[in-house]
Symmetry: C2
Subunit: 200 residues, 2 copies
DNA sequence: AAATAGTTTAACCATATGGTTAACAAAATT
DNA sequence: AATTTTGTTAACCATATGGTTAAACTATTT
């Protein structure tokens, strides 16, 4: 069956176009062109633009979300988790720099998407992390901190540089060459920064 | 002259619609409806969708960027700057939560915008901050840190929670009620977190 | 009050766009 | 080999959308 090839061609093209232009900015014709097939085929495999978009979106989302579980469902110490997670996540996101922005943007555009997640198996859950942080605080291993704030801080430091890079670059704070080096440094910097803040 | 009123009505409506739906998702008709005037008037005051959009965009951008100067062109210590800036910026952004996302998204969509900034008077400049940080590091007031990383960290911690809130909420880590309280806490938490990390 | 300039609108227009159809081609099934 | 199913396309359709026009209406000026 050659059919699977077409479907994959479409999905890849759709991914590329949707991530670059968003749902509203993307054109079915452009996706077809980039896939090198007729526009009608898009509707043959995926009924509508909406359905094609959702296929791409949920694929992207399911790439992004499970990464969070590393830090949540692991048995090492908070410090070790932070070291592993930040290195991992910065590396991962720097290989998919447009993913967070895309997902955020499209959830924003259509909050109904959020509902479709509820009940998803491998959505991260903070409970374990909260307990662990509180535990280490009580034992005097780390300084008192609200686990939710800590979690947001970790994510912010890992993800924002990518999401905000257009802004950071536009403002002229950092140029392209510098940026890549800075990101590379961040793979270790972020963990040091956080741990230095919370360690007793 | 009643004319100014119409122009303001249009700008406000355009701001609301563009920020909610982005350039591509916004409809001229919807802007006209929200402004309560005829669609042709949009073209009377602003020649095209593009020009109306740019009016809104640069207004939004000029609201966001100057805030950064607080931390850069001020003579207090690094610690004081961080305290003032984070409180200020978190407060400011929580009053305009969609602004960063909008600006980032649209720069992303059209990188040519970035060029239009170059030469803008009050774009922030990192030089002074760099020197100051290096200075305090040398004096042993704060721990060694790359000033650019520190700056990115500060911005990330202030801005990401807003930009990423759709994602954070969708993942189910934090619900709406909790979120507002968390943001309120962050006005002081962020400064504590950063200072705790860099202070000797 | 007449004329002029500025403001606002309803009705149009051209085009782009998502989606459909009907015919054709290629596999798969009998 | 004949038939059915699946894949692919060019041509088409309905509608949405940014933009225009010409007329009406409202100040402002003379």
């Amino acid at each position: 069956m050659k059919s699977e090839t077409s479907e994959v061609l479409i999905l890849n093209a759709a991914k590329s176009v949707f991530i670059k232009k968003g749902m509203d900015g993307a054109r079915m014709q452009e996706i077809a062109d980039e896939a090198g097939i007729n526009k009608a085929l898009l509707h043959y495999y995926f009924r509508s633009k909406q359905q094609l978009f959702e296929a791409v979106f949920f694929n992207a989302f399911s790439l992004l979300a499970p990464q969070l579980n590393y830090i949540l469902n692991d048995d090492s110490s908070v410090e070790d988790k932070i070291i592993k997670f930040t290195h991992n996540y910065v590396s991962f996101v720097s290989q998919h720099p447009y993913l967070p922005n895309f997902v955020i943007q499209e959830i924003n555009r259509n909050p109904d998407f959020a509902l479709k997640f509820k009940g998803n198996e491998n959505l991260p859950n903070l409970e374990k992390f909260k307990i662990q942080v509180n535990n280490e605080v009580q034992k005097g291993i780390i300084k008192p901190i609200n686990p939710e704030q800590l979690f947001i801080n970790i994510i912010s430091l890992c993800v924002f540089p990518f999401v905000g890079s257009p802004l950071i670059k536009a403002i002229g704070i950092i140029d392209d060459e510098n940026f890549n080096q800075l990101i590379d440094e961040r793979k270790t910097h972020v963990a040091n920064f956080i741990i230095s803040s919370i360690k007793m």
